[in-house]
């Protein structure tokens, strides 16, 4: 039977929600809150077994951890060893994981393998389905780590982050991630070594706007059917990369000038590597990070970023100052593709027609950090 159900894993500042919808994407059944009052940064379903959910959590008081469920959230178990840096030698920098920010299931050939990105920047790997986590030393202890990650001022207001951990579906040894700040990095040996891959992407906040590393890639995605194609929504523009080329092309220059090409998320079509969606925000003067002009809109390109089309039918026409975080925009795998984004004001918006029209089926959640559309 073809997939006909969608699970929306919604992570908020005050707990987690599991929202179910069907192929019509008309009815949305909310299950939750799970862990009310906990700060949930990310939740993902394991596509390899179809029933394991991992959740990155902390509270205002308590340290960071990972929970996992094998029954779609009926019961949760805490990791035996959550991601954590090793105890520092005397005099060395004492790194502590403030929160787990990003979760990525590993390659299809490696059941049980997961990756986690943390704040401050760290990469962690689990080989037992998220029960125990070890640091990926090839990055966390890389001789250039300190240079790559910079100082505290190089991170987001909520701390510097490792995100967008991507595994090439053809080859589990090829991996990518983004550092905010720090840039995009690639490994060809499953994390044993890393190198920056930022040529062409700008860092307008530095004296040299085209450095080797130090950029702020807000979100990066790799197309599963064309894994040499990557898209990136950066602090300084929207980019595409078609490897083996290693120079990012600024496809955001084709966006309308009065909207610009600043934003947090980037979302891909599951079957068409040329289709991409972004959610522009105002990156002018003091960086309001809200919808430009108070008129929220999704922008879609059907030709890999050469031309962009505004998609705002159903969205408020004025005085709507949305912020959509980098993990809070997601696509399902149905046909036509369903799109979902959550705002920091707690509204979950949905489109059942690839962005042509939008409605808000779940308007009153807490501040939304992440939405992952998982197709069952």
């Amino acid at each position: 039977m073809p997939p006909d159900r969608v699970l929306l894993l919604v992570a908020t500042r005050k707990g987690a929600f599991i929202i179910r919808t069907d192929s019509a994407r008309e009815h949305f059944a909310i299950d939750g809150p799970h862990f009310l009052g906990h700060t949930i940064h990310h939740m993902r379903l394991d596509p390899r077994d179809g029933n394991t959910i991992l959740m990155a959590a902390r509270t205002g008081h308590l340290g960071p951890t990972v929970f996992r469920s094998h029954d779609f959230g009926k019961t949760w178990k805490e990791a035996q060893r959550p991601p954590q840096f090793p105890k520092a030698a005397q005099g060395a920098r004492q790194r502590t994981v403030d929160h787990v920010f990003w979760l990525t299931p590993g390659h299809a050939s490696e059941p049980g393998v997961w990756y986690a990105g943390t704040s401050p920047q760290g990469l962690f790997r689990s080989e037992d389905g998220g029960q125990t986590w070890e640091g990926v030393r090839g990055f966390n202890d890389h001789p250039l780590y300190e240079k790559w990650v910079g100082g505290d001022q190089d991170g987001t207001p909520d701390g510097p982050k490792t995100h967008s951990i991507l595994v090439d579906p053809r080859n589990p040894r090829r991996m990518y991630f983004g550092l905010s700040g720090g840039g995009v990095f690639v490994s060809d040996d499953q994390g044993a070594d890393w190198r920056p891959m930022n040529r062409g992407s700008r860092a307008d906040f530095f004296p040299d706007p085209l450095p080797e590393y130090g950029q702020d890639p807000h979100c990066m995605a790799l197309h599963p059917l064309k894994p040499d194609r990557l898209y990136q929504q950066n602090h300084c523009g929207i980019y595409r990369l078609d490897r083996p080329d290693e120079t990012w092309v600024r496809i955001g220059e084709n966006m309308p000038a009065d909207v610009g090409d600043i934003g947090f998320p980037v979302v891909l079509h599951p079957r068409d590597p040329d289709t991409v969606w972004v959610f522009p925000m105002d990156g002018s003067d003091v960086w309001p990070r809200v919808s430009p002009g108070g008129k929220p809109a999704v922008y879609m390109s059907r030709d890999a970023g050469r031309r962009w089309q505004r998609q705002d039918r159903g969205l408020p026409r004025e005085q709507a100052w949305f912020t959509v975080m980098r993990q809070a925009f997601s696509a399902d795998a149905l046909d036509p593709v369903g799109l979902y984004f959550g705002t920091t004001a707690g509204a979950l918006w949905a489109s059942a027609d690839e962005g042509a029209s939008w409605r808000c089926p779940v308007p009153h959640l807490p501040e939304i950090f992440a939405v992952a559309a998982e197709t069952l």
Binding site: T59, G63, P82
Partner: protein, 91 residues
Amino acid sequence: MSTGTVEVRLAALLHSYTRGARVVHAPGATLGEVFDALDERYPGIRFRIVDEQDRMRRHVRVFVNGADARDLATPLADGDKLYIVGALSGG
């Protein structure tokens, strides 16, 4: 140093670990040993309170017989009373 048993009074934010118990007892000659003992009995509880560099989490406070304690080497005596609470944090 002999190992005594201390009384540990836990704020509600930790009751999910102790299956609802507000007061538990644990052996230990130092604060660190008590946290180790608690973690053995209630897996995961230590890392929520103490980070990987053995520092108390920023928004957790521990009192020993009413006095603020932040060092895991803090010595404890049999019958001491520990109080673990969430400090101010919110919004």
